[in-house]
């Protein structure tokens, strides 16, 4: 519950010929996580059944591509075969899938060609629209003449009159064909012998030559008809192709369903990866299994495989602690909180799993900062009011809502009204100093607990020096207590007694001494680093504790915002009053609710997790038979 499930390292020795079946059994069992072999490599020099793996990979890739192309979702509810396919069966399946993909690929290529042709036709139609007013064979504009010079192109609209006048001086004419976004499509014609005078003036008028494509040959009306005919033909071919694809789905659907099941049955073996080695007819697989599942695993293998199987199990040793996966299993209602913890990291194998710590403190702090019976009730009911997107967060919203309602009852606040029922404790604004004190002590407790967890983690991982002498160890905790106690004495009596001073200096000296020992650099640099880190340790404890004052500040802020909403509402008539109250409450609910959530997460991650939670473990990922994994689809 508070640490990842204990694991056994398991080594399975079996006959190489039964590996594919073992893969199916282990993946079906769902509690075996392969562990890449680290030792004994020289005694187990072979990687068996590579052909099976590559054949599976190829078949899987073909299946994925076929399903994507046909837009077909295979029926995955069918029973997965009891026996893993043999290499021969897999090869046959691969060959069939390969041939089907070839058909699909040529259709995809045809579809692409159709798309491109359609694009070309649309481009030509667009262009033709510019020349549709011309009553001549467009091919004439492209042709070379002995005495006549014809140019087609574009100029900026504002240059047309001046250019027409200019080229008229050398006997050329300008005909405007169409206008498009400030550009004129024009045709310039004149005698070839005057061509040399034309070049510079066209450049000055920003004329861009445009040679009509060969497809536009003939009268515009005729060309338009031809393009339309071509378009219709391609659309017809596209429809035909679509029908072909639909027919393929009907023809191959059932076989593709079967192929999916066969590949699912074969998918266990490739998941062994580097955890599998062999020598001759003997193979060895290593992996991690939760302690309570090892007996059942052994029985299942002995029952499911025909040949002999030897399963060795042992506790993970000290050197491999970092390799042991963390299997964390929580009740479904904790899922949203687990997701937030994983957002930070996965606990190491022996590290405290902070999910419960996080969940309880999150719920309490949210309620303290957003205490309102009415708002809490809406948050509580939100998953039912908006079941779609908020459904996944149901438990988080319900617990946060309940906490908000509880603190709302303690504060006597409902939708910002503080006079509708008597507070079980006190309205926040009635004694802000008390609120700040409560938040302060909450912060002290939070940091104290986080430090204890940090010490525990270090002790379990045999880092004794760190657990005792580091700033986050026992010495650091004593330093923190001495700061708190000394501070209290200073405020209460105006002085600090000898014992508190001794505790402060002794713990600080211990922390600094440890940091000095940890540094490997030259003496001067060492001194500087130790001095800065020592100062940082001291300041961090103070600032981190004060950081928790925001818990009270947001509680007060909630009331203050409500007061502001009421002040605005009071300025309006009765209709305006209620509209302002509703909108104001919505504003508080959404904006302040979001800010409070962010602030709570900040306190959890920064003040809590950064103290004790390394989060650099890796998740227990057992072999499994999953159609989503096989087909690379998102769940």
């Amino acid at each position: 519950m508070f640490t990842p499930t204990p694991m056994h390292h398991v080594g399975i020795s079996l006959l190489s010929e039964e590996l594919t079946q073992a893969g199916l059994l282990l993946a079906r069992y769902g509690y075996f996580a392969p562990d890449p072999l680290q030792e004994e490599m020289e005694h187990l020099p072979e990687t068996p059944q590579q052909r099976y793996t590559s054949c599976f990979a190829s078949a899987r890739s073909h299946l994925q591509k076929i399903l994507d192309f046909l837009e077909y979702r295979p029926e995955t509810g069918q029973t997965i075969p009891e026996q893993a396919p043999t290499l021969q069966q897999l090869l046959e399946l691969e060959a069939w899938l390969g041939s089907i993909w070839q058909q699909c690929s040529s259709r995809a290529e045809a579809a692409r060609r159709h798309e491109e042709k359609l694009k070309d036709i649309h481009r030509l139609e667009e262009l033709l629209r510019c020349y549709r007013n011309l009553d001549l064979d467009l091919g004439m504009l492209r042709r070379e003449y002995r005495f006549l010079n014809i140019l087609t192109g574009t100029i900026p609209q504002e240059n047309s009159t001046r250019l027409r006048e200019a080229i008229a001086m050398i006997g050329y004419t300008l005909t405007q064909v169409s206008r498009y976004e400030g550009l004129l499509h024009i045709v310039i014609a004149g005698l070839k012998e005057k061509e040399h005078n034309l070049k510079t003036v066209l450049k000055a008028a920003d004329f861009h030559l445009f040679v009509l494509p060969e497809e536009l040959s003939g009268h515009p009306g005729k060309v338009a008809r031809q393009l339309q005919e071509q378009e219709q033909k391609i659309l017809h071919e596209q429809r035909h192709l679509q029908l072909d694809i639909q027919a393929s789905v009907k023809e191959y659907g059932q076989r593709l369903d079967q192929a999916t099941q066969v590949l699912l049955a074969a998918s266990g073996f490739p998941q062994f990866g580097q955890s599998l080695r062999s020598r001759g007819g003997l193979a060895y697989i290593s992996g991690w299994v939760p302690v309570q599942k090892t007996n059942a695993l052994e029985a299942m293998l002995k029952h499911g495989l025909q040949g002999p199987v030897i399963m060795e199990r042992r506790q993970p040793d000290a050197r491999e602690q970092h390799r042991v996966p963390s299997y964390i299993h929580h009740a479904n209602w904790l899922r949203p909180f687990t997701a937030l913890v994983r957002n930070f990291g996965i606990p190491r194998y022996q590290e405290i799993d902070p999910t419960w710590f996080f969940t309880i403190s999150f719920i309490i702090m949210f309620g303290m900062m957003f205490g309102d019976l009415g708002h809490g009730a809406i948050i509580f009911l939100a998953p039912w009011l908006w079941p779609g997107k908020l459904g996944k967060l149901r438990s988080a919203l319900m617990t946060a809502g309940l906490s908000s309602m509880l603190f709302g009852a303690l504060y006597g606040s409902v939708f910002g009204y503080e006079h509708l029922f008597p507070a079980l404790w006190m309205p926040p604004l009635s004694d802000p100093v008390l609120m700040l004190k409560v938040a302060f002590f909450w912060g002290v407790g939070f940091i104290f607990l986080a430090s204890l967890l940090s010490i525990r983690n270090d002790l379990v991982e045999n880092r004794f020096a760190r657990a005792f002498f580091d700033s986050r160890g026992i010495a650091g905790l004593l330093l923190y207590l001495s700061i708190l106690f000394g501070g209290w004495q200073w405020f209460e009596h105006g002085s600090v007694d000898v014992w508190s001073r001794f505790l402060l200096f002794a713990s600080l000296a211990t922390v600094l001494g440890y940091k000095w020992q940890q540094q490997q650099s030259a003496a001067g640099e060492r001194l500087l680093v130790v001095a800065i880190e020592g100062f940082e340790t001291f300041m961090n404890y103070i600032s981190n504790t004060l950081s928790f004052l925001r818990v009270a500040a947001f509680g007060l802020n909630h009331v203050a915002l409500s007061v502001a909403v009421f002040a605005l509402a009071d300025m309006l008539g009765s209709t305006g009053y209620w509209i302002t109250i509703v909108l104001g409450n919505l504003f508080i609910l959404i904006l302040e609710g979001a800010i409070v959530t962010i602030q709570v997460l900040r306190l959890e991650y920064y003040e809590g997790f950064s103290r004790f939670f390394r989060g650099d473990g890796h998740e227990f990922r057992p072999m499994r038979l999953s159609a989503n994994d096989l087909l690379n689809t998102k769940t």
């Binding site: 190829s58 890739s61 591509k65 690929s105 995809a108 290529e109």
Partner: protein, 353 residues
């Protein structure tokens, strides 16, 4: 100038620190000549100390290690640049991704065995943009180019497919991809501003001179392409070799003739050379000299990042050649022969130490 200094101070510092890793000429020579047991100090200075501690057993791992360093350094430098500059450097570094792409293309053309990405392809981490697995899973060239159409290389996919449909040859598809790559690079360099643009273009165009001249000679006299075809496949423009010059050079009939008709300064430097390999080494030296000059003389200019990356890549290639030679148990003479494109005293004296 003030804002220029402020904007590029970090880049300047970064490049200055990184440039400490560049070995000078004598060190590069020593790297080639010394036995494996004595090159550790040089490897440490070149920023590949991990190789000094333990050399990977597999040449592919060695290549990946060096590529990762180069990629990481380029990413660090890109963080100091604005978007246009970053786009240029990213595209420059995409040559590594083109290596992957061409390997995939070749396997599709030859219909050879499936590719093992961890051994045969470079992992470009944050710089890679291709879905390599999707490309590996393709069955044919058409399918590969279709996949490419949906990637950040879509502009390259179109001419490549055109070339494939027309010629059905690997050479033409690769050449179409290269041409598209160079055009993009020139286009991205032209989007830079002021002195950044000027200095970057100087180095880029010097490099394009090398690429164009060597490609032209190979296309014309090794692959025996026609003059128009060879010219068509060249990169757009260069520093001393304009498109017009290249057009004229493409019509000549021998390497010697081409060298004789090169523009003045180039002609002087390449005089008495009629071997394509020799010309390539000389041109490479010219680009190195230009890059060194920019790196030493320019300040608060993005071109120093480009020049550094160019020189760093050259150095990585040298380290790769030397270490791979040792890994494969080649003799020292052979390693020197394979890894020393720069041992030409006539030009090496021009290089900055």
């Amino acid at each position: 100038m003030g804002s220029q200094v402020a904007s590029y101070a970090y880049l300047n510092t970064r490049v200055s620190l990184m440039a400490e890793q560049l070995l000078h000429r004598k060190q590069r020579k020593a790297l080639l000549q010394l036995p494996l047991s004595e090159i550790n100090p040089l490897l440490i200075q070149a920023g590949v100390g991990a190789l000094a501690r333990q050399l990977p057993k597999d040449p592919a791992q060695l290549e990946q290690f060096l590529a990762t360093i180069l990629v990481n350094e380029s990413i660090k430098l890109m963080r100091c640049l604005n978007s246009n500059e970053r786009n240029f450097i990213r595209h420059w570094m995409r040559r590594l991704e083109l290596v992957n792409l061409k390997l995939l293309l070749r396997t599709r053309f030859s219909g050879s065995q499936p590719i093992d990405p961890s051994h045969q392809l470079l992992d470009l981490a944050g710089l890679g943009s291709l879905d390599l697995q999707a490309l590996i899973n393709t069955d044919s060239v058409e399918e590969l180019l279709r996949q490419l159409q949906n990637s950040s290389y879509s502009s390259m996919a179109r001419p490549a497919r055109k070339a494939f449909e027309e010629h059905r040859s690997l050479f033409d598809v690769e050449a179409a991809m290269d041409t598209n790559y160079y055009s993009q690079l020139v286009h991205l360099a032209s989007a830079l501003k002021g002195n950044h643009k000027q200095q970057t273009q100087q180095l880029l165009h010097t490099w394009l001179d090398q690429v164009n001249l060597i490609s032209l000679l190979r296309f014309r006299f090794v692959y025996k392409l026609s003059a128009p075809h060879a010219y068509f496949l060249l990169a757009p423009g260069g520093r001393q070799l304009s498109l017009k010059t290249l057009q004229q050079l493409a019509q000549l009939t021998s390497v010697k003739e081409v060298v004789e008709h090169l523009p003045g300064p180039l002609q002087q430097q390449l005089a008495n050379t009629d071997d394509i390999e020799d010309i390539e080494y000389h041109m490479l030296q010219l680009v190195r000299t230009r890059a060194n000059k920019i790196l030493r003389k320019q300040r608060f200019n993005m071109a120093i990042a480009y020049a550094y990356l160019y020189l760093r890549e050259q150095q990585m290639q040298l380290i790769h050649a030397v270490l791979k030679g040792h890994l494969l148990g080649l003799s020292n003479e052979l390693i020197q022969f394979c890894g020393d494109p720069l041992a030409y005293p006539a030009l090496s004296r021009r290089e900055q130490p």
